[in-house]
Amino acid sequence: MHGSLAPIAWIVVGYAVIVALAAGLGLALRAPRPRWLDQMAWILEVLCVVLGLGALGSLLQGHRPESMSTHVGYLAALVCIMPVALGSMREERESWSSGVVVVAALATAVVAVRLMMTR
């Protein structure tokens, strides 16, 4: 991944942590998953897509990470985790479904960090 994408990656990490905290709060309060949490999660997905497109563009411009397969794997995981998590919880709005958002957001943050480490 090109160095100029690092700030976007850190924004993804920071925002993912905020989403995880918000979802964790909902879980702690045993509240049904609010619509705004889904919207926050989708904004995270948009950020991930921006980062993913940037990283993909960097690869297409000839940048070669140390392990291409690992880097591409993290890239794919980055953009897939949240839609899969939200898709699996589409009809489920009980408080524990916020826990799934916590897991997905934290996983997204970890994958974004790993993406930077494998660039």
Binding site: S69, T70, W96, V100, V103
Partner: protein
């Protein structure tokens, strides 16, 4: 919603989070094992094979928890203990027989490479299973 689908519907609860974590570890350990086995299997064949075994364990664990949430806990009762034993045995071997593990497997150092979540996961799932089936009479809990 039909009677059949409501009967098949699993109970709500923490198993949703457990299943999400298992799905995540299927992805993490499965892709890790696939990349390592396909690109550098000769470096640490035992460690990479054990990572693949961990991935298979997580797949079966995911289905086991899903079945347990539908009132069929037998597979989960076996698989979660198998998974915990795997983490403990491989974690211990990775510490006392370092030459067997030139590279880390998913369960090396009791899953330290993944924040020790692999060690905590089967324990959390066993606690959930224990609490769920303490509360649930044998004939209750969904599809037979």
């Amino acid at each position: 919603m039909t009677t059949t689908s409501s009967t098949l519907r699993p109970k709500r609860g923490p198993h949703l989070v457990l299943m999400a974590l298992y799905a995540l570890f299927i992805l993490a350990s499965g892709s890790r094992a696939a990349v390592q086995i396909s690109t550098k299997f000769h470096v640490a064949p035992l460690a990479y094979t054990l990572s693949a075994v961990a991935a298979v364990t997580y797949i079966v664990g995911w289905f086991a928890i899903r079945r347990a949430a539908h009132g069929k806990p037998r597979l989960a009762e076996v698989m979660l203990w198998v998974e915990l034993a795997g983490v403990v045995v491989i974690g211990t071997l990775s510490l006392v027989k370092k030459d067997w593990f030139p590279d880390a497997s998913v369960w090396s150092d009791y899953g330290g490479g993944y924040g020790w979540v692999p060690a905590a996961l089967p324990i959390a799932a066993l606690l959930w299973l224990h609490r769920t089936h303490e509360k649930t009479p044998p004939n209750q809990g969904g599809a037979a």
